[in-house]
């Protein structure tokens, strides 16, 4: 069975679901969750590119098998940690918005601003 481009297409679909959730849902927590799904899709895209068929994890050994590419792994390790930093800052803003408006729905917040 050949996977071909399936991994990339699955990543694209996950990205689109995340993007739609972030744009279309008025709830602020749901928007952050959509952003999180989008991020995971980007991670999967990078890691899929690093895979070598029949390769092993990039830890030195002497059996002569090929290694998968370690570089995307390093980049995505950094991205995961940065992702959690943005998520925590976003959630802190959500808590402050809840204290000020008592709602997390974007349309209600805009309405209250116009009152």
């Amino acid at each position: 069975m050949t996977v071909g481009l399936f991994n990339y297409w699955a990543c694209v679909v996950l990205m689109l679901i995340g993007l739609y959730t972030a744009i279309a849902r008025p709830n602020l927590i749901k928007k952050l969750i959509g952003l999180g799904m989008f991020q995971v899709a980007v991670f999967l895209l990078y890691i899929s590119m690093g895979k070598v068929s029949g390769g092993t994890p990039p830890i030195l050994h002497t059996s002569g098998e090929a290694y998968s590419n370690p570089l995307p792994h390093v980049l995505i390790l950094t991205a995961i940690v940065v992702g959690i930093a943005t998520l925590s800052l976003g959630l802190a803003l959500v808590v402050r918005i809840w204290e000020a408006y008592q709602t997390l729905e974007e349309d209600e917040i805009v309405e209250r601003d116009h009152d």
Binding site: L5, L14, L19, L60, P70, L71, T78, I80, R96
Partner: protein, 179 residues
């Protein structure tokens, strides 16, 4: 076998993502997001990215679920029902999707050892890092030594985010004590 598992898990993730997007109960959404992260960690293991897998399992499934649940405890658990379907958002998403799929068409296939991504700096890391750095795990060598400045920058981002959270929430907590 690996390929079949990979495809099956990715299909699971898509189904789970649709479920998360449609769900109204934010508590369930937070827990499902944890499952989503764990599934992605399994896919990372299949794709030989073991370091990424355990970071995703610890940080993505662990810490971010805790942060989400903490936020829900401080705010609300229910999302209000959306009033109308957002046609503009759907259009934007479909246009983006078309562009992205078009972009994948001439990409190297899964597992291709001759893909451009494997032919530049990665070879040097694999061949030389053992004698230059002396750590068996190549990802660790690259992360801490060859690309050490990246990691320094990452630490700066975490520090900044931490200060931001303290400034945002610390003020609210002090106010709460006064009243």
């Amino acid at each position: 076998m690996t390929e079949i598992t990979d495809v099956a898990l990715l299909i699971f993730m898509v189904i789970l993502a649709v479920a998360i997007s449609r769900m109204q109960n934010l508590f369930m959404v937070a827990v499902m997001m944890g499952i989503f992260s764990f599934l992605s960690a399994v896919v990372f293991t299949l794709l030989d990215a073991v370091d990424v897998a355990f970071t995703e399992a610890a940080v993505g499934a662990g810490v971010s679920t805790v942060l989400l649940l903490g936020t829900l405890a401080l705010t609300t658990r229910e999302e209000k029902v959306a009033k109308q379907k957002n046609a503009f958002a759907l259009l934007a998403v479909i246009a983006t999707g078309g562009a992205l799929i078009y972009g994948t068409l001439d990409m190297p296939h899964y597992g291709d050892a001759n893909a451009p991504v494997h032919t530049h700096v990665a070879d040097r890391y694999i061949e030389k890092s053992g004698e230059e750095i002396g750590v068996p795990n190549i990802v660790t060598s690259v992360l801490a030594s060859y690309r050490g400045y990246d990691t320094l920058g990452e630490t700066t981002v975490i520090f900044t985010a931490g200060i931001g959270v303290i400034l945002l929430l610390g003020r609210a907590l002090r106010k709460g004590e006064k009243s």
